[in-house]
């Protein structure tokens, strides 16, 4: 099973309110990633967990937080949503060992901030 599951599929949020997105995988992958995808733009890496170590990209460091309570689950947290956060959020996981590091993506959560 190479499924990465994301909940919810669609999310509406108000400006200034928090948002929490959930991702899970049962492949026992070491690494879990969160990407942001906006129309006509490349998917942008926000952060990733390698085991229990969180790595956040420098330009999004203060905008997103994450937690990984166990190997299977990873969340993406926005403390105060702004209009610019409207996007598709894609979770991915990989084995991250050796030369085989295929990323498997979930179906995404489409966030609309109003």
């Amino acid at each position: 099973d190479t499924t990465v599951k994301q909940n919810p599929r669609y999310k509406l949020a108000r400006v200034g309110k928090p948002v929490n997105l959930i991702c899970s995988q049962t492949m026992n992958h070491d690494t879990m990633y969160w990407y942001q995808k906006k129309p006509n733009q490349a998917p942008k890496l926000l952060l990733f967990y390698y085991d229990k170590i969180l790595n956040r990209e420098a330009d999004t460091f203060e905008k997103f937080q994450s937690s990984r309570p166990n190997n299977s689950f990873c969340s993406l947290y926005i403390g105060s949503a702004g209009l610019e956060y409207s996007a598709m959020y894609l979770c991915a996981s990989s084995r991250a060992r050796g030369s085989q590091n295929t990323l498997y993506f979930g179906a995404g959560t489409r966030l609309s901030v109003l």
């Binding site: 490349a42 998917p43 990733f48 894609l90 991915a92 030369s99 590091n101 993506f105 979930g106």
Partner: protein, 109 residues
């Protein structure tokens, strides 16, 4: 991103024909992955290559790390091949992938 340059940005194909998509890298990459974005916006894994060539059905991909490019060939294009194709590359195995801007492929009857 700047490190991954995809071309062309858009491609129109008649059913049954073929073409190639290309990614050029501005730095040495260790691996490349190709995805097709489906109508719902999620990314479907097509190939992962650390080197050489892989083939799956009507799709074939090559990664030349020394010359810093990768290609995705589509042959005998079908209507369901329409969509945006992304290449993404890793300069080390511990980091996430850096994506190109994608190639929008449209297949016409």
């Amino acid at each position: 991103g700047d490190q991954v340059e995809q071309s062309p940005s858009a491609l129109s194909l008649h059913e049954g024909t073929g073409s190639a998509l290309r990614c050029n890298f501005t730095t040495t990459m260790r691996a490349v992955q190709w995805f097709q974005q489906n109508s719902r916006g999620s990314l479907i894994n097509l190939f992962y290559l650390a080197s050489g060539t892989k083939e799956n059905g009507r799709l074939k991909s090559t990664f030349n790390s020394k010359e810093s490019y990768s290609t995705l060939h589509i042959r005998d294009a079908q209507l369901e091949d329409s969509g945006t194709y992304f290449c993404a590359a890793a300069y080390n195995y511990a980091q996430g992938l850096t994506f190109g801007l994608g190639t929008r492929v449209s297949v016409f009857p």
